[in-house]
């Protein structure tokens, strides 16, 4: 019986090709839009994850405290964490390593080439903190940090911009007219979260930075410090130890607010991810409005079809078709239309998002979601929009239906 119903339904909808196609189009566009929006959302989320993974997630970030004036929270306070504070954190339990970063934007010059770069004054441990890898040469050493040697390690963007095909190792570049020897290059990292170029970086010992690039308001202090823990599950505990340690070192009395802030990378990742997810959901919901319109289209078409085919329904009933048969036939017709629409919509959506991926040079995932969405839509839309017309067909009185002109 199922085969017979499928066959009858198929013949019926293929008898009205243009109408069936136009009705399908509504669902097709809807599903394609939803699939593309979901793909867009997932691409954003993947990019976020990739960026965070490149930094490592078992990271604790220490920054300045918030300024409090008259009980009102203000912006970031002045740098309150000293280089020595950070050094002291290395000895805490479950801490793998710690580092800090001071930066400044300057013009880098080599020969006739020059390029605006971001200079980072830091410690050798920053390599591990930021998941950086040395490409050629080496990182500056602890000794270089202590003595403030004018050594720099440069990112791939700077290698390309200043040296082109030349080997940069041992060459001297000028920053603020002062000479610095390139002792190493970093492996490429790609764009950051905000589309910033992470490879536009010049690393040098923080001491050198303070002496030769930018002394700052409090030379021995930093705006941002990083602590890497031995594992992700130790982060809470380490964060507490850091807070305790820094409060002690800053001689803060009970009841006095922290003059620094401690944030977990995992929390930040969660926050950004949840924003990314909310974005996907929002995009998909907007796209699904077109699905709603498409499904109203099917319902409308099926209602017209039932009215037009009243005599056919009457004839079928007179010839022995049960109510169930009539209902299933019309329901099957609407499910078939929405099924074809969703399937083609899914294909269009997947292809469309891949094409967009190529255009925007992003890796767009082909997710199982597109299949789940289209199958669900096919069934739900087909049944929901077909039910009312099918019931209408079923309820037709054969005598009235046969008399219908």
């Amino acid at each position: 019986m199922i085969y017979q119903i499928l066959k009858e339904s198929w013949i019926s909808i293929s008898a009205y090709k243009l109408r069936t196609f136009l009705t399908m189009l509504g669902i097709l566009i809807g599903v394609a839009a939803v699939v593309m929006m979901v793909a867009a959302g997932q691409t954003v989320q993947n990019e976020i994850t990739k960026t965070f993974d490149s930094m490592g997630t078992n990271l604790i970030i220490i920054g300045p405290g918030e300024t409090v004036s008259g009980g009102v929270r203000g912006g970031r306070g002045r740098p309150s964490v000293s280089f020595d504070d950070v050094e002291s954190l290395k000895n805490l339990k479950d801490v793998k390593t710690a580092s800090y970063l001071v930066n400044f934007a300057v013009q880098a010059v080599y020969g006739s080439n020059n390029y605006g770069v971001s200079v980072a004054g830091t410690t050798p441990e920053y390599l591990e903190i930021g998941n950086w890898e040395i490409d050629k040469g080496s990182m500056f050493s602890e000794k270089d940090l202590k003595t403030g040697r004018p050594y720099v390690v440069i990112g791939q963007t700077i290698v390309e911009e200043l040296f082109g095909l030349q080997d940069p190792i041992g060459k001297v570049i000028r920053l603020k007219s002062r000479p610095f020897t390139v002792i190493g290059t970093l492996k490429e990292k790609g764009d950051g979260l905000m589309g910033d170029d992470q490879d536009n970086i010049v690393m040098m010992p923080a001491t050198t930075f303070r002496q030769r690039i930018h002394s700052g308001f409090r030379p021995q202090y930093t705006n941002v410090a990083f602590v890497k823990t031995v594992s992700e599950d130790k982060m809470e505990a380490v964060a507490n130890r850091i807070e305790y340690q820094l409060r002690a070192r800053h001689h803060l009395k009970d009841g006095v607010a922290n003059d620094f802030s401690v944030r977990l990378m995992t929390d930040m990742v969660e926050k950004v991810r949840s924003v990314g997810f909310a974005l996907s959901v929002l995009l998909a919901s907007i796209a699904s409005i077109s699905l709603l319109v498409g499904s109203i289209g099917i319902m409308n078409m099926m209602l017209v079809s039932v009215t037009e085919r009243t005599r056919e329904i009457g004839t079928r009933k007179a010839l022995g078709a049960s109510n169930k048969w009539i209902m299933l036939q019309f329901l099957t017709e609407s499910v078939m239309i929405s099924f074809m629409g969703s399937f083609v919509g899914m294909v269009v959506g997947v292809l469309g998002s891949q094409v967009a991926g190529v255009v925007f040079e992003k890796q767009v995932p082909i997710s199982l979601w597109s299949v789940v969405i289209s199958v669900t839509v096919a069934v739900v839309v087909g049944v929901v929009s077909g039910l009312m017309p099918a019931i209408k067909a079923m309820k037709l009185d054969p005598i009235d239906a046969l008399r219908f002109q």
């Binding site: 019986m1 004839t315 022995g320 046969l402």
Partner: protein
């Protein structure tokens, strides 16, 4: 008419039909109609417009239920059955021929003829085979793959008759089967009915044309919802003739 052993196909007793309309109005269309129809009979139901012929046919054809009274089809009481049971009976025991043919215009003639078999779960090949057989009987051999739009009205009615025969029904009901046809075509269709009746098929048709009724042996005349005459067509003509 070969009357070997009597086998009752239809028996109605005190059949009444009242239509209830909006506003509490009601109209009594059939009033205590009773009769029997035996296997192999060819009956014409006559009466002027609005007398209740179609109403009676709809009840006999299991498309409608009587308000009162009993209806036995091949010995089974069908007057109180559910919609689905009636659909089953229509599919298995009854053949319909309509005034306006009621063919599915987008389907082939073979599809149209074999349509009732779909609801009995008969497979595609078997359906086609049966359609070809039936088309041969009604003189439309070779037309199976054409569309109804490509043939004349008389041929369409033949297709409808083939469709009515395909499920081997106990009886064929035809409500004004020649109403949309010209005289010559009407005669051809009636000749076909006669031929089928001679082959033993029970036929009940509604008509208000005397020429058409003349093909039947028996005549039931309805007047204002009551049975006015029931007997041989020839006896009625003799009586009228006086």
């Amino acid at each position: 008419m070969a009357k070997q052993q009597k086998e009752t196909v239809i028996e109605v007793k005190d059949l009444c039909k009242t239509y209830f309309m909006a506003g509490g109005m009601s109209q009594s269309v059939l009033k205590n109609v009773s009769f029997k129809i035996e296997k192999g009979e060819f009956v014409a139901i006559m009466g002027h417009s609005g007398s209740g012929k179609s109403t009676l046919m709809n009840i006999l054809g299991c498309l409608d239920r009587p308000t009162k009274g009993a209806y036995y089809l091949t010995g089974k009481l069908v007057s109180q059955k559910t919609d689905n049971e009636l659909a089953f009976i229509r599919g298995h025991e009854i053949g319909f021929v309509f005034q306006n043919f009621n063919l599915l215009m987008k389907r082939t003639i073979a599809d149209n003829v074999s349509l009732p078999l779909i609801y009995q779960g008969v497979g595609e090949k078997e359906r086609y085979k049966r359609a070809v057989e039936m088309l041969k009987i009604v003189g439309l051999k070779g037309y199976e793959d054409r569309l109804p739009t490509q043939i004349s009205g008389g041929m369409q009615q033949r297709v409808a008759i083939a469709r009515a025969l395909v499920n081997n029904p106990a009886i064929i009901f035809a409500d004004e089967p020649t109403g949309n046809l010209d005289t010559k075509t009407s005669d051809e269709i009636m000749a076909l009915f006669s031929k089928l009746n001679q082959a033993g098929i029970t036929i009940v048709l509604v008509t208000h044309e005397d020429d058409v009724a003349d093909y039947a042996h028996r005549m039931i005349k309805i007047h204002d919802g009551r049975k006015e005459y029931d007997g041989l067509r020839s006896a009625y003509l003799n009586k009228e003739g006086q």
